[in-house]
Amino acid sequence: MHALRKHIHPGWLIIAPLLVLVIALYLGPILNILWLSVTDPEPGFGNYAKLGESDALIRILWTTVRICIITTLFSVTLGYSIAYAMVHCHQRQKNYMLTLLLVSFWISILVRTFSWLMLLGRNGLVNVALEDIGLIAEPIAFMRNELGVLIGMIHYMIPYAVLPLLVSMQSIDQRVMNASRNLGATGAQTFWRIYLPLTTPGVVASTLLVFILSLGFYVTPAVLGGGKVLMVAEYISVQLLVTLKWGTAAMLAACMLFGVLAMLWIMSRFMKLSTVFGGAAR
């Protein structure tokens, strides 16, 4: 017992409860799912071969990737604008902006999805308003298509895009920009050649974070897509709860999982991961 004490720090004793819980009840079944992806319904890589054979699967994957890329592009660009404004204004104004950002962060995803349903429907507020002022004659189809899914997802992801960018912009030395201006560069030159390159780590972290979160997004595509826009997450749930095909679902989950882990690894090259998550908490 004493010899053991010498090698193992007593702190591990109080780490153990949560660690054991997560390994047994979370890591265990995830490994089981990875195992299923090569054994169900029969051993081998049959499930993965479907990726090359089934047109439906390829279409779903392509839809997912396309929506995720567009969502990420918009969220990070708009998030950059917000973060830039927040870093470059007075403390008081910044606090107000941060409050709005965090409130939107905290409003339930279901409430937000419900609101978009009310706003974007055929007789939704947006269409009614546009018709009333005479901009359109026929209601625009915002829902049951990719446009609706994109609006809902971008709206949800913007706060996630802002937080890593804020962290990275706050750590920049403002004097570098002053030096650039003193040396005769214009404001635009300073931004493109000095500021933007300095915030690259933040942009990478924010891009990957939003992309990862979009990849497994379930609620908004399922509701605003109205069955017309099928993404991987919804497909997995149909496979499990309706058609009971664990193999295909497990294969898709495995692909998603490896993709996410790879992106996390890239992200950790650019930024300490805990600062990304800690950003919201501080």
Binding site: V22, Y84, V103, V111, F114, M118, L257
Partner: protein, 265 residues
């Protein structure tokens, strides 16, 4: 540096965007006040009948109650486990403990649909499907990383010499923990507890997989209402949820302000 035209323009744009983030949710308020029996904007007169229905309907009330029980239990469990784990990791702080920390944060970043699959897979043989215990355990695993983050942030500003001083003065490990460490990291613990509560209160994806009839949480009932898309009671529920969000946000803001003034003094 003089503020350029571009920055001015960008600032206005940022405000517009931030308002775009918050205002759409408020549409639930007028919709919840409609006197009609279907989802619509009120024209002229307002009515509170949907709130009345929300607070007298047995189904909705039981969902509020179940969500409350699950969220409070999750919050307590996740806070307890997450806090002691964070203290342990802070004490050990070696290469391995940092690896363990990274591992323990995974439930936060792995897509929820995969977490849902994992819990669903394991809960079937364990017989935990559609039970309080099953939901609480699943939510606890998802929420504990939040607590780990907030408590670790508090510990980062805690001076380890205080712990040594306490031990040198003859206090036991347990006394040191209770009288020295815990009081100094209280803000982080509370923030973590609130985060864990919100996460569980709002969780839908995992809940959809592992609950069915017995346990019918508030998000689950809202999800049904949204999919059916007819009954305005959903709008009333959404308003209540927005109100709860604002209240917990206030709590959180007050706590973090106190936290800031503590660390400043």
């Amino acid at each position: 540096m003089k503020i350029g035209l571009f920055s001015q323009f960008n600032r206005v744009g940022a405000w517009v965007l931030l308002l775009f983030l918050v205002t759409p949710a408020l549409i639930a308020i007028p919709v919840s006040l409609t006197p009609k029996r279907f989802l619509s904007m009120p024209q002229g007169e307002l009515s509170l009948r949907h709130f009345q229905k929300l607070f007298t309907s047995e189904e909705w009330l039981s969902s509020f109650f179940q969500s409350g029980v699950i969220a409070v239990s999750t919050s307590v469990l996740a806070t307890a486990l997450g806090t002691i784990c964070a203290i342990g990791l802070w004490r050990v702080s070696s290469r391995y403990s940092e690896l363990v920390r990274a591992f323990l944060l995974l439930p936060l970043i792995i897509p929820q649909i995969i977490s849902a699959m994992a819990f669903y897979r394991l809960w079937i043989p364990l017989g935990l499907l559609d039970s309080y215990a099953g939901l609480i355990l699943a939510h606890t695993i998802l929420a504990a990383p939040m607590v780990l983050i907030t408590v670790s942030a508090s510990l980062a500003t805690f001076d380890p010499k205080l712990e040594q001083a306490s031990k040198n003065l003859g206090a036991s490990n347990w006394t040191t923990m209770r009288r020295v460490i815990l009081p100094s990291i209280k803000p982080g613990v509370f923030a973590g507890a609130i985060f864990a509560f919100i996460l569980s209160w709002d969780e839908i994806v995992v809940t959809l997989f592992i609950s069915k009839f017995n346990v019918y949480t508030l998000p689950r009932r809202m999800w049904n209402g949204i999919r059916e898309n007819t009954d305005p009671t959903v709008a009333a529920a959404a308003v209540v949820l927005i109100a709860i969000t604002f209240i917990s946000f206030m709590l959180f803001a007050i706590l973090s302000r106190r936290n800031a003034s503590n660390s400043a003094s």
